[in-house]
Subunit: 427 residues, 2 copies
């Protein structure tokens, strides 16, 4: 029997989407790693009664552990610590030593700011040093301490909202006595991920039916399929004795989708392209129009990308396409900026101007304006060339969705084309 | 008394962060617009008992309305419709006419794919045409219909997960009899947003205390402050008769933070920069290193950006800085690529090479590698120049966080510098 956990993400700004939540998913992964079954994330506003209702709900659901993020700041609307103290039936007390340790941190931080109101700083400091009596304290990474406290029901882990504070504090939380007692006896799970590119989700549904029909005990696996950025992700979780069932399942996916299954080990297309370029000591450069820098940004997202990424040209205007990427202006005049011919010229310009082995060209209509009957919004042309071997793939694709979707999907299509060219494909 | 709503976002892939949730925040805004109080978003995995527990929780909380997103696809793990039927105590029935309408959509879509398994398609079609008896149907935008059904307690609005399907279906949902009955008598609220750049959150906490001390009835307002990307956001919600209280509050913020308050109407720095460039008929170009294309991508994120964005140079390598942006190689050798001098040369190169009015140069150490004692990870140098007037701002900044944070924050700092230069500031 697996220990069960709920996550409470607090903050009206998260609930209403002013900021996106990164903590719920991150905590979900960490809980899974320690064998805890995470079934539910509650996102609630900054009202104490709503935070309390979420805690009560998780207690009522029989959760062993509840992890909260947010609501530990110096301002008046940050109230998680007090609500958790009430929930755990503890007094809410000032920890003098903690107040002193926070003061040391604040002294260092406030040097950066001239003319600060020191009364405000001290009031915030004191507010952040209040914790439920008897809680195990987690030292602050920013200025907010966290804590772990056992309630009548779940044990509650209280962490600050900013991911760069929450994440380093997780290890300390997981090492507390309260945490370890709450998750004792958790079942170990394995998580596996396959990724496919270029088929509709219904095909995977049929593959699941086929696997069942062929006697694969799919009920022993927890399979989730998801369509994202044009890729299908098949996430599977199972207990270690079910390894053979998972192997049988992957065998069937492999046999039915050999041409579209690109990842059996969960690696992303970004990681695969980076590894392939490193392995072959190839360099890459891009000349992109409708994606406006997103392709370069995606290629430089991974640390160490300077080993293979030479640079990028964001050639939004036709003048820039000509001046920076060396596209023939008469070609643009003849076939239009959104064309496979211009995509090829951009790919050539990218690798030539930036002295890279692989060149990528992207040009399209991201919308909402600029579409025509012949080239509606979502029309995007791609070319990828490997200058050493002369291999090239060029495609014109019609992508669904709004401006942001078209731009994002375009980077996915281009990355998959880079992978294929580097692996040896060519038109 | 305001109608209250809960949102249930289903999907193990959302819970575990394989995909980020865009529906919870979007629905929150829509609910707020129609005066419904949205207090809680529940993110649950694809297990029927977890979806049901969330519905029961919201019923128990006395919600008038529950909106669900996701779990309406053609695959076996998409089970929201059935769970909602049980929750509402309705039979789960095949709607023949709906099955026919979905079939027409599928016929159009499947033309794109060769060699499809039509049995799989038909099975998915039939699955998606099952709805609770008596529900009001929402016609599909993709292939999944939604519906609105009254339960013993809240009315439930069931929508598909993909935002580009969910969003267009919202209007139909809000027009149903079930929806209108559930939200009847909702209080109207006003939502306002102020944004500040360049002060710590504790200063806002103090401003709230000052406002109270000066007699502003802050309890009549629902004020949320949030630190995000180096900006402070003050979101406030109130009932229309409290307009004067809000005015008094903004007056105090304005007086205390004149130099850092850049938005009183909720406009983002991105929108302000775009509007300023349009207004002055200025064009802009960037040469960026550590941000790797993100600055160009951010400037082209808004539709119509081709009116002012000329292009970008992603000069990741030193060779690219020299060859593309015309940076003097002896300068790089003398002061290093991460320096205010090279940032200035990049800004100059950007506007010269791309024939733009405003040039932006960014160079820094995004990490995790590459830091030195003198230039640790997070050191980023910026320069923004307006070539017509010769106004220029150049800054060296130490940004906190990991690689992704440093890259993201850098684009925010650069945008604020562009705003200031266009508005007339100069070193």
């Amino acid at each position: 029997m697996s220990a069960r956990a709920g996550v409470v993400v607090t903050g009206t700004e998260v609930l209403t989407g002013i900021i996106g939540d990164r903590n719920g998913p991150w905590l979900s992964e960490r809980l899974r790693e320690v064998g805890v079954d995470h079934a539910h994330t509650a996102i609630v506003g900054d009202r104490p009664e709503d935070v309390r209702a979420a805690l009560d709900f998780f207690a009522q659901q029989g959760m062993d552990l509840v992890v909260t993020s947010g609501g530990l700041g110096p301002t008046e609307d940050d109230l998680t610590a007090r609500v958790v103290a009430d929930f755990a039936g503890r007094r809410f007390v000032l920890d003098d030593a903690l107040e002193g340790r926070i003061a040391v941190i604040l002294e260092r931080l406030t040097k950066r700011w001239p003319d600060l109101d020191m009364d405000a700083i001290r009031a915030g400091n004191r507010k952040q040093a209040h914790v439920p009596e008897g809680a195990e304290i987690l030292e602050p990474v920013g200025t907010a301490p966290g804590f772990v406290v056992a309630a009548d029901g779940p044990t509650v882990v209280v962490l600050p909202g900013p991911p760069r504070e929450l994440q380093p504090m997780w290890e300390a939380a997981a090492a507390t006595e309260g945490f370890r007692a709450a998750v004792a006896g958790a079942t170990e799970y394995r998580s596996r991920m396959m990724r496919l590119f270029g088929i509709p989700e219904s095909e995977i549904a049929e593959t699941l039916r086929v696997a069942r029909a062929e006697g694969v005990a799919l009920d022993a696996l927890e399979v989730t399929t998801c369509l994202r950025r044009g890729e299908i992700e098949i996430a599977t979780r199972y207990e270690p004795p079910q390894e053979a069932v998972y192997e049988a399942f992957t065998g069937i996916v492999r046999a039915r989708h050999a041409d579209t299954l690109f990842s059996e080990d969960g690696t992303t297309i970004d990681e695969q392209v980076a590894a392939l370029l490193r392995e072959r000591e190839s360099t890459i450069a891009v000349a992109e129009s409708c994606t406006g820098g997103l392709m370069a940004a995606r290629l430089t997202d991974l640390a160490g990308s300077s080993d293979y990424f030479m640079g990028g040209l964001v050639v939004y205007s036709d003048e820039a396409k000509v001046a920076l990427a060396g596209v023939d202006p008469s070609l643009v005049a003849r076939v239009g900026a959104v064309s496979t011919e211009v995509a090829e010229a951009l790919a050539d310009g990218a690798h030539e101007r930036l002295h890279a082995d692989v060149g990528v060209g992207i040009t399209g209509v991201a919308g909402p304006g600029g579409g025509t009957e012949e080239k509606p919004v979502g029309t995007v042309c791609f070319s990828v060339v490997d200058s050493g071997s002369g291999r090239r793939l060029t495609r014109r694709v019609q992508l669904p969705g709004a401006r942001a979707d078209v731009r994002d999907r375009s980077t996915a299509v281009a990355l998959h084309m880079v992978r294929r060219v580097v692996l040896g494909d060519s038109d």
